[in-house]
Symmetry: C2
Subunit: 191 residues, 2 copies
C-alpha cells in the first residue's frame, strides 16, 4: 500500500538496528484517516472470504482491527494478555514470547466469543518474528474455527515471521513489507 510505505519512509525510525518505530501514526499516536484507508485495503484483500469475525491482540492491534471491521461489518474479538478479574473461566489460551516486553505472555480469549462456525480474519499492526500471530492462529485452531487469512499493517521482511507463515500456506497479506534500511532509507518489497 503506497500511502503506508510513504508514511513509513517519512516518519519511521530505526532504533538499535532492529526496532522500527512508527508510533506517530500506528501504535501510540493513531492517524484514524490512514487507518481507514488501511481498513479499506484489508477489505479489498479479504472482503470476499465470508469472514464472520476479526481477531486481534491487545493493545496496538485493536485500533487497526476495529477500523477495518467497519468495512467487513463483523465484530472484533481481541485477545487479552493477562488474566484480569474481569475474565472468568472458559478460555482459549496460547503462550507466546513477546520480544517487545522480553517475557512470556499468554493470550486469552473467552470461548463465548469464538466458535467452530467462525470464519476468522486475524489483523495485527506488526509482524516481525511472528510470535504474536502464532498465538492468535493457535487460538483460532483451539476454537475449531476456520482461519481465512492474516492481515498485517507493517511486516519486517528481514525477520522470519512472514516467511514461516507463508510456508505454512497461510493467506498472509501485509500492507507494507520493509526489506531493509540502508543509510536511513527504507527499502520495501514490491508486491
Amino acid at each position: 500500500m503506497k500511502e503506508l510505505e510513504e508514511r513509513i519512509a517519512q516518519e519511521g525510525r530505526i532504533i538499535d538496528g532492529r526496532i522500527i518505530k512508527v508510533d506517530g501514526f500506528l501504535n501510540h499516536r493513531i492517524d484514524t484517516k490512514l487507518l481507514n484507508r488501511m481498513g479499506e485495503e484489508f477489505y479489498r484483500l479479504f472482503g470476499d472470504l465470508g469472514v464472520t469475525k476479526i481477531l486481534t491482540a491487545e493493545a496496538s492491534g485493536i485500533a487497526v482491527a476495529v477500523i477495518a471491521a467497519q468495512y467487513f461489518d463483523v465484530p472484533v474479538v481481541f485477545a487479552k494478555k493477562a488474566k484480569s478479574d474481569n475474565i472468568e473461566g472458559g478460555l482459549y489460551a496460547s503462550e507466546i514470547y513477546s520480544y517487545t516486553y522480553n517475557r512470556k505472555v499468554t493470550f486469552l480469549v473467552s470461548k463465548q466469543w469464538l466458535c467452530a462456525e467462525d470464519r476468522v480474519l486475524i489483523i495485527d499492526d506488526f509482524l516481525a518474528n511472528g510470535e504474536a500471530l502464532r498465538g492468535l492462529i493457535d487460538i483460532v485452531a483451539l476454537a475449531g474455527a476456520q482461519l481465512m487469512g492474516v492481515g498485517v499493517a507493517v511486516e519486517k521482511g528481514f525477520q522470519e515471521g512472514g516467511k514461516r507463515l507463508r510456508e505454512r500456506g497461510i493467506n498472509l497479506q501485509s500492507l507494507a513489507i520493509i526489506e531493509g534500511v540502508e543509510d536511513g532509507v527504507f527499502r520495501f518489497r514490491q508486491q
Copy 2:
C-alpha cells in the same frame, strides 16, 4: 444513551456484586456498529469544543476512542501501561492503582505526541473508582495541555469516581450511568 442502556440491560452481567461485565460488545468482543453510534454521541456532546486530540488508555479504551475520533477528525493518543523497548525517553508518567489487575500501573505517554497547545478530550470505556481517568488527567496536566472534557461509555454511578471528577469541575459525560442492580435488573441514572 438509550441504545447503550438497553444493551447493558440485555447482555450485562454482575459478578461478585461489583464487576459489571459487558464484554460481549464493549471490551473483549467489540460491536463496531454500536461503537459508531457511541462515537456520534460523543461528538454531539463534545464536538464544538475545538478538540485537537483524543487521549485514552490501553487496552479497552482504544476501540471506543478510535471510532469516536473519526467523527472529530483528530488523532488518538493512547497511554501505554508498561515500559516496552519501543518507548524511549521523554515520557509523561502517572501511576495509578488498577482494580482490574489489583496492582499499580504506570501510564506512559511520549512527550512527542501531547503538547501544551493541545485541547484534549479523554475517552474511556469504563468509569468506576476513577483511577484510570485520574492518571490520564494527570498526563494532560503534565503536558500543560487543556482538558476539554472526559467522555465515558459506562459509568458505575454507585462508585465514587464520577462524583469526584464532577466535584473537580471536570466536564464529564457518561453515555450510560448504572445506579445499581436489583434482582438482576439494571437501574440507570436519568440524564
